[in-house]
């Protein structure tokens, strides 16, 4: 808005950006649905999650305005992702590798 000098004034983005993001999200939803019917072996989960991560990024950056937000907000978003990855990957690293050796008590 013209009468807002500060960086945090309402950031009005063109409507067509929202429609473009929306269009991409819908197309990707049906693409991932179609791809799920193909037999890609172990790659099905990676393709599905890659598309989901891309879709989620579009929502976070444009619908949730993180692209235009303060650096502190961006840092908070990244911190949440970091902790989520710690939770998922450290636990799964244990689960995945536990069977590699005949550890007593397994």
């Amino acid at each position: 808005m013209a009468n807002h000098a500060g960086h945090a004034g309402p950031h009005v983005v063109p409507k067509r950006l929202y429609f473009a993001v929306f269009f991409a999200l819908v197309v990707l939803t049906w693409v991932t649905t179609f791809v799920s019917t193909l037999d890609l072996g172990r790659w099905n989960i990676f393709v599905a999650l890659a598309i989901a991560i891309f879709k989620a990024s579009l929502v976070v950056l444009f619908f949730m305005h993180v692209w235009y937000s303060t650096r502190l907000t961006k840092m908070i978003v990244m911190a949440s992702l970091f902790w989520l990855m710690l939770l998922l990957f450290l636990t799964m690293a244990d689960i995945w590798t536990r069977t590699w050796m005949g550890v007593p008590g397994r």
């Binding site: 808005m1 009468n3 807002h4 000098a5 500060g6 960086h7 945090a8 004034g9 309402p10 950031h11 009005v12 983005v13 409507k15 929202y18 429609f19 993001v21 929306f22 999200l25 819908v26 939803t29 049906w30 991932t32 649905t33 799920s36 019917t37 193909l38 037999d39 890609l40 099905n44 989960i45 599905a48 999650l49 598309i51 989901a52 879709k55 989620a56 929502v59 976070v60 444009f62 619908f63 949730m64 937000s69 303060t70 502190l72 907000t73 908070i76 978003v77 911190a79 949440s80 992702l81 902790w83 989520l84 939770l87 998922l88 636990t91 799964m92 689960i95 995945w96």
Partner: protein, 234 residues
């Protein structure tokens, strides 16, 4: 820094003020936004625990998860995802309408968001009912034999998938039901002209919440409906 009164044209009783501990409207808004994001971080952790449980058990019982997840309807899942994405679009447009001061459009887009959210929940209720009728709810009535009476693969662990299915989609739906309540409040406030370019923080922060709930579904959809579609053990 623009003075707050100068760009406010709503009626006087709804004009927001800067609370005494803030220097400017911008600072006040930044603080609110950061507060909302910190709340969303706790939500990421909340859902994250369930996603972790899903990954751990899927890793442990892949056959049970593959056969169970094929009982979900691909078409209904994809259609409902589309509905939720539409509601995210209308929510984003509601926030934009508030930022440019179009009161009637705020109300319109919030009502559309409400209707689309309600549609999603309705479809979800239909799916739950379907699962109930087909004895796919874990517990006493659970029975995964097909019409010919043949037991499903790894019947002992199949209920785990459905427990996670109901737990994760149920927690997601609970968030949407809470969201529906908040939208109703926002609609009533917006009709009174409470939100304009100078101040529409509640609409904007609720938008963050609504989009977050959309993101959770963006991950639930592939995990519960898609990834084992072609991996049914014969």
């Amino acid at each position: 820094m623009a003075s707050h009164a100068a760009d406010t044209h709503a009626d006087p009783h709804v004009v927001s003020t800067i609370q005494h501990h803030f220097e400017s409207a911008d600072q006040q808004k930044d603080a609110s936004t950061i507060g909302m994001w910190v709340f969303l971080v706790t939500e990421v952790m909340f859902f994250g625990g369930m996603f972790l449980a899903y990954f751990v058990y899927r890793q442990a019982y892949p056959a049970a998860f593959a056969s169970a997840s094929n009982n979900t309807s691909l078409l209904i899942g994809a259609a409902n995802t589309t509905v939720l994405i539409c509601s995210s679009l209308t929510m984003a447009l509601a926030v934009r309408s508030a930022a440019v001061g179009k009161k009637n459009l705020i109300v319109l887009f919030l009502i559309l968001t409400l209707l689309l959210g309600g549609t999603f929940l309705g479809v979800k209720a239909y799916e739950y009912h379907d699962k109930w009728v087909r004895h796919e709810v874990p517990g006493h009535n659970f029975d995964c034999r097909d019409e010919s009476g043949k037991a499903c693969i790894d019947a002992g662990h199949t209920p785990l998938f459905f427990a996670l299915y109901f737990g994760m989609t149920g927690l997601h739906a609970t968030h949407m039901i809470v969201g529906v309540g908040i939208i109703l409040f926002l609609i009533s406030q917006a009709r009174k002209g409470a939100y304009g370019p100078a101040w529409h923080t509640p609409v904007e922060l609720f938008g963050l919440y609504w989009h977050f709930v959309d993101i959770v579904w963006i991950f639930l959809f592939p995990l519960l409906y898609l990834i084992d579609r072609s991996a049914v053990p014969k």
